[in-house]
Every structure is written in C-alpha cells, then in structure tokens.
C-alpha cells in the first residue's frame, strides 16, 4: 500500500491531483462521467465579483503539444457562485475546493474573498494575479512584486482561509514575485498560469484569437513549469501548488520533485475528460516504479 496523501498547510488531501481552474467548470460535466470524489480537490472556474461574458470568439487556438485560450474569465459572478454553483457542486463533490479568485483591482479581489469567506466548502483561496486574457488588472498584479504583495496583504486581511497566490510565468524573475507574496503573508504559491502566446491565420493574415493573444498551456509548457517551481521552491518556505502541462502520473511526480506539494491538471482535461481520474488511478503504480511509498517524501526531492 502506498500513501498518496499530501498536506497543504493543515489541509490533508487524499492525493495531490487537482483539476485546474477553467478546465473543469464547476465539476458537473465531469461528474456525469466519473465519481469526481477520487480527486484530491478541484479548483473552480475563476470567480470575479460581477458576472462576466469574457472575450469575443474565437477564444481557442491550437499548437504543437498545446493550445492557446483567451476565454477572458467568463463566470457568473461571486454571488451566483455562492448561491448556485457551489451548492450544485456539493451534490457531486464532498471535499473542499480551491476557490480561484480574479479581479481588476485590489478591491475586486477583496470583495470576492469576502463574499466566499463563509463558505465551508472552500478550503483555500487561489488568488489569480496572472490571467493573461483580461485588460487592466489580471496579470499586471502578477508581474510586479510590490503589486503582488499588496494584493496578498489586502486579501489576507479579510479572510481566515489560507491564501495561495497564483503566479504568472510571464516575468523575468518569478522568484522575486513569489518571495514578495510570502513576505506579505501568503500561505502558499500556485504556479504557473499560462504563458502569453499568439497564433496567426495565414489566410486572413490576422491573429486567430479575437483577443489576439492567449494563454499557452498543454504538455509543451511542462519544462517551464518544472524550472520555475524548482527555482521558487529554493526561495520560499510556503507550499507550492504546481501546474503546467501535466498530463500523466509521471508528470505529477516530476512537479513534486521540483517542489510542488499538490499538482493541478489543466489542458489535459479538455482533451481527455478522464485525464484526472486516470492520473489518480495511475499514481500508486507510478510511485512503485520509482520506489516511492509515501508521496509527500518526494516534495522538492530533486534539490
């Protein structure tokens, strides 16, 4: 028997596998396919204080071993998430969730965290200061250590729940942003969001995406995630939720050895709706292959 459990602070997860925000909706589409209680947790669609339609379409483009998306934080808004989506999710998922929070100003982030702070179902907040697909706010907070720290402090002041800050890879020095968040009181780091990319339609001689640029995800970005997690692990003491191109149990082990305590799976869910279930199922065998009996032992094991 192997032990797949991990601890994010005081929160014990049966396994480190968490579907990433924006690739799993609020879980119900997947709950129709399999019992999603096999997951460690799940990160809900990024929630803003007001409902948003997001960007015009096309919002999706493809590339070798990956994809671009420019959805632009479509979501029904914090109140609807609280009164409709979370209760509906509770019917098919009995574990605590990661509440992914987005905004365009510090006040926005604070307002969403306040709105969801009383929800028993929310295990931690994952504050997205790294969305590349919205204009104003979003990624701007994640590319400057001082702004990242300001968001962290403001959110910490209004919630007792652990606050994880989701970082952008679209920076020269991600370590300085991570350290600024830790110093500002963040309970953990979530990384990496998508890489900023673009594809062109050669017939139209224009970008494929209506938003022109989009967030690049999929297996192609795994090495970037591994590198950044490895660097941040050396610089901070708080736990890291790692993500970026994970599509197999083997990838989960790699991000954990780089320094992740838990691992989110994103784009893979869109291609194989059973991706997370398969990864959870495959983990014990994959652990045995590398002589791992207790998964939490390998966190940062590559250092």
């Amino acid at each position: 028997m192997v032990d797949t459990s991990v601890k994010l602070g005081d929160w014990v997860l049966d396994n480190p596998v968490i579907p990433a925000s924006g690739t799993f909706g609020y879980g119900y589409e997947f709950a129709d396919l399999y019992d999603i209680n096999c997951l460690g947790s799940l990160s809900i669609k990024g929630t803003t204080i007001e409902g948003r339609f997001g960007n015009p379409t096309p919002r999706i483009a493809e590339c070798a071993s990956g994809m671009l998306n420019a959805v632009g934080l479509q979501n029904p808004g914090a109140e609807q998430v609280k009164t409709v989506e979370l209760p509906r999710l509770a019917k098919c998922f009995s574990k605590k969730v990661v509440a992914n929070v987005s905004g365009f100003s510090i006040e926005d982030y604070v307002a969403v965290c306040e709105a969801l702070d009383g929800e028993e179902q929310v295990g931690i907040f994952e504050v997205n200061i790294s969305c590349p697909n919205v204009h104003g706010g979003g990624m701007a907070f994640g590319t400057d250590p001082a702004s990242a720290a300001a968001v962290t402090r403001a959110v910490k002041a209004v919630t007792t729940k652990p606050v994880y800050i989701k970082l952008s890879p679209n920076v020269t020095d991600i370590v300085s942003v991570a350290k600024a968040c830790e110093e500002a009181g963040a309970d953990g780091i979530s990384m990496i969001n998508t890489l900023l990319g673009m594809r062109l339609d050669l017939n139209k001689r224009k970008p494929i995406l209506a938003n022109k640029t989009g967030g690049f995800s999929g297996p192609a970005i795994l090495p970037v995630a591994v590198r950044m997690i490895y660097q941040v692990y050396e610089a901070v003491k708080i736990p890291i939720i790692g993500m970026g191109g994970v599509s197999s149990a083997r990838d989960v082990l790699e991000l954990m050895m780089a320094g992740a305590t838990a691992v989110e799976v994103g784009a893979a869910n869109l291609v194989n709706p059973y991706a997370c279930r398969d990864i959870v199922r495959d983990l014990p065998a994959e652990m045995k292959k590398y002589g791992i009996s207790r998964l939490s032992e390998i966190i940062g094991g590559a250092h």
């Binding site: 669609k45 339609f53 379409t57 919002r59 999706i60 483009a61 998306n69 959805v71 869109l270």
Partner: protein, 242 residues
C-alpha cells in the same frame, strides 16, 4: 457523453475535398440529430468536432471537409483504423416543434447533419423538403441520399452550374411550417432574415473541449450566455443575437 474507440469501415471522397467516413462503435450516446462528435487524431492536441451525418445501429457516419491538418489526417485514414471519439455532444435538433412541412436548409459542409434530421422527421410522419446550397456543381454532394429518402430536394449553386442559380434563399419559396438549417454564418443570417416561420439554426465555433468545460465557444443569446458545444450548437430563431 461517451468516450470510446471506433473502427473505420469506409472513408470515401464525395467531392475533391469532402469525405464520408463510416465508423463502427458504441453509438448509444447519440440521442438526437444535430449533435456532433469530437475526434482525437494522432499528433494533434485538440480534438476535432464533426457533425453526425447518420447513425444506424452501431454504425456512425461522418461527412467532413478537409479544411486543415486535422481533417487532412482523417482523409488519410484507411478502413480498420481506430479513432478515439467523444459521442453525444451538443443539444441537437428538436423535431417536436417542426409542424407537418418543415424546410431543411444546408449550406456546403452544413448539409450532413440534416440527413439524420430528415430521417427522424420522416419517421414521425412529417413531410420535410430539402434545400442544399453550394458554390458550384463540383462541390455538390448529398442530393442522391436525400432523394433516396423520398423527399423533394432543391440544389442551389452560387454560379448556377447546377440547379437553381443563387443562394439557398432563392429556393425558400412556397409554404413551410418551420426551418432547420446548418451552414456558414452568412447563410444562417440570410435564412434568418428570409424565413417566414420559426426555426432552429446550427452554429459552428472553435472549441477547446466540446463538452462544456472550457468556455471556449460561448455566445450571447437572448436567453443568456450559452456554450455552442453544450447548450448549442442548435439555437432557436427567437434567441439568436447576430
């Protein structure tokens, strides 16, 4: 929705760029005409959404046009090849509101889903009529299949090289109880502006997942935001915002 493996039985060109692929597998999750499947292809990251042309027993028929790398790979597949397919995607057409004499209007690669719809309407004892629109005679396909069902078919071509010269709207005459349509957006809009009855319009959009998870294909309607892959691809006339 169901993920399963299908085996290619046949993959035949119908025109220079349009192919018919017949596949064997579990079709039980296809619940309505107008739905689509999402096909995984080796070496490409995202699946390719293709409308269901026909479903009979465990045989699924897809008619697709080679428009890019994904469909080009499909065109090279030989009988016996296996495909990973998500079936039962999208809402599909609702035949309960068709009235006795619905008009089915397909444009180009929008023609295929109307075939299973036509069969469903006939099975309900209704009397559908079909308009198939193309740019030119060399692109025409599907006419014989609809005629074999015993329904009246009008072919239109933009250049007049076959059938009625002009767009599909040139053939939207006479009485009809409802319209069902699928085709390029300018055609859908023209049908919308011409139709004297209610109708259902099937839309296309670039998709991430095809089953409602990624919000990649959202659109605004008078009834709120919808996902083309989940609450669509078929929208009713009253809700469409152009």
């Amino acid at each position: 929705m169901k993920q399963s493996i299908f085996r290619v039985l046949e993959n035949t060109p119908l025109t220079e760029t349009v192919y018919r692929m017949r596949l064997e597998g579990d079709t039980t999750h296809i619940t309505s005409s107008g739905q689509f499947v999402n096909v995984q292809l080796d070496g490409l990251y995202l699946r390719r959404p293709i409308s269901v042309n026909d479903r009979e027993g465990n045989v699924l028929t897809l008619i697709y046009k080679v428009v890019g790398e994904g469909t080009a790979r499909m065109a090279r597949m030989a009988p016996g090849a296996e495909l990973d397919v998500l079936t039962g995607l999208g809402n599909g057409y609702d035949t309960s509101v068709s009235g006795d004499a619905p008009l089915l209007i397909g444009g180009g690669v929008g023609v295929p889903p109307l075939y299973l719809l036509c069969k469903e309407l006939l099975a309900e004892g209704k009397h559908p009529r079909v308009i198939l629109g193309f740019n030119t005679a060399a692109e025409v396909f599907g006419e014989a299949e609809f005629l074999a069902l015993g329904v009246p078919v009008t072919v239109t071509t933009v250049d007049g090289s076959q059938g009625v010269k002009g767009f599909v709207t040139a053939a939207m005459d006479g009485a009809y109880s409802y319209v069902y349509t699928c085709g390029p957006e300018p055609m859908l809009r023209a049908v919308y502006n011409t139709a004297t009855s209610g109708g259902q319009f099937s839309f296309e959009e670039r998709m991430g997942c095809g089953f409602g998870a990624c919000m990649g294909c959202s659109c605004k309607t008078k009834y709120g935001n919808k996902r083309i892959c989940k609450e669509g691809p078929v929208l009713v006339k009253e809700e469409i915002i152009w």
